[in-house]
């Protein structure tokens, strides 16, 4: 039987999605389903988090799908995805319409420019934090640096970069096996 009733899951996920603005989304979900409600153990949550990192695709919707699946089965997975996507998508569409119809004047352009610059600072913080946690040995540093150079300054097609780097990285990862 499912641990959580679907309607309740939808309510909690919609609310958590709406209030977890500006990055660090997994932390808000951890707080909502592990700390505050005790629906999942820490280990279960971590397992779902690694799933999102390994699977291709947008991370934060993956997390909602995985958590929703665990809590309320396949319907829970779909419901959780809709709960975190639909409110933001609707809002963003509204903003896009405003943007397109000149509802954003010169002031708004300056505002957006300032925001865009701050977003660079925000994504840099996230990237550095994750790099500090995940890139520790020489293999990982080399793979991360080469991947960066290829997709950043050299603008090589990302599918090619991922295919080549995944093969090399997987081959190198055998020596690092602790188990």
């Amino acid at each position: 039987m499912h641990r959580v009733d679907l309607a309740r899951l939808l309510r909690v996920f919609t609310w958590t999605g709406l209030t977890s603005l500006g990055g660090g989304r997994s932390a808000y979900f951890h707080d909502a389903v592990v700390v505050r409600r005790g629906w999942l153990t820490n280990a279960e949550f971590l397992q779902d988090l690694t799933l999102c990192q390994v699977l291709p695709g947008p991370n934060s919707s993956h997390l909602a799908v995985a958590l929703g699946h665990r809590l309320a089965g396949p319907w829970g997975a779909w419901g959780a995805a809709l709960a975190v996507l639909v409110p933001g998508a609707t809002l963003l569409l509204g903003l896009a319409i405003l943007y397109g119809h000149g509802g954003l004047g010169a002031e708004a352009r300056h505002f957006l420019r300032g925001m865009g610059a701050a977003v660079v600072g925000l994504v840099l913080v996230t990237a550095v934090r994750l790099a500090m946690g995940g890139v520790r040995d020489r293999r990982a540093i080399a793979i991360a640096a080469l991947t960066f150079l290829a997709v950043g300054p050299f603008r090589i097609n990302i599918a090619v970069v991922i295919a080549v780097m995944a093969a090399v990285s997987f081959w190198l990862a055998k020596d690092a096996d602790p188990a």
Partner: protein, 173 residues
């Protein structure tokens, strides 16, 4: 192929290349939607990403913004579905078996192999974003100031991003 289909297909394959989060796919997304297909300008791309940061939900919802700029509401809906539907379906299918799969040495090795690639891709995303969002002393200082404040972890990102918008507004007024 009609442009609307090209748009949809582009976001489907982009979504499957987003390893380690949406930020990693930004360089390729910009190349596709700005350079190759011209659906948005470089400035609109940055503006859309900033708006996606402000709205709740994943930042990859920026697909909705680009889709709307390219083909109105149908473009927005199709781009959003393309970005999230196939990838979420995959996550849903794997989620039920993940606990068991993760015990296998092959999957553990895959986890270790993919983590640094995800980080390299993310760094590429930061690079791409900074190339279009930082173009003078003001924007460079705002980016650095935001980095410093957010690094301390005491101020929520949304406050920092809005405050920077305000500075941008006041500085040009």
């Amino acid at each position: 192929m009609p442009d609307l289909l090209v748009l949809t297909w582009t976001f489907v394959w982009l979504s499957f290349l987003a390893i380690g989060g949406g930020l990693g796919v930004l360089p390729e997304m910009q190349r596709q939607v700005v350079t190759i297909h011209g659906w948005v300008t470089a400035q609109e791309f940055v503006d859309g990403y900033a708006l996606a940061q402000l709205t709740p939900g994943p930042n990859m919802l920026v697909a909705v913004f680009i889709g709307y700029r390219a083909h109105g509401v149908p473009g927005a809906v199709l781009a959003g579905l393309a970005m999230f539907l196939p990838a979420s379906a995959l996550a849903g299918m794997v989620a039920g078996h993940w606990g068991r799969l993760r015990q296998r040495p092959f999957v553990r090795r895959l986890e270790r192999a993919i983590a640094p690639i995800g980080i390299g891709l993310m760094a590429g995303g930061v690079y791409t974003l900074s190339r279009s969002a930082v173009h003078d002393v003001l924007t460079a200082s705002l980016a650095l100031a935001a980095f410093a404040v957010l690094w301390s972890g005491r101020v929520p990102p949304i406050i920092v991003v809005l405050a920077a918008g305000l500075v941008g507004l006041l500085a040009r007024a």
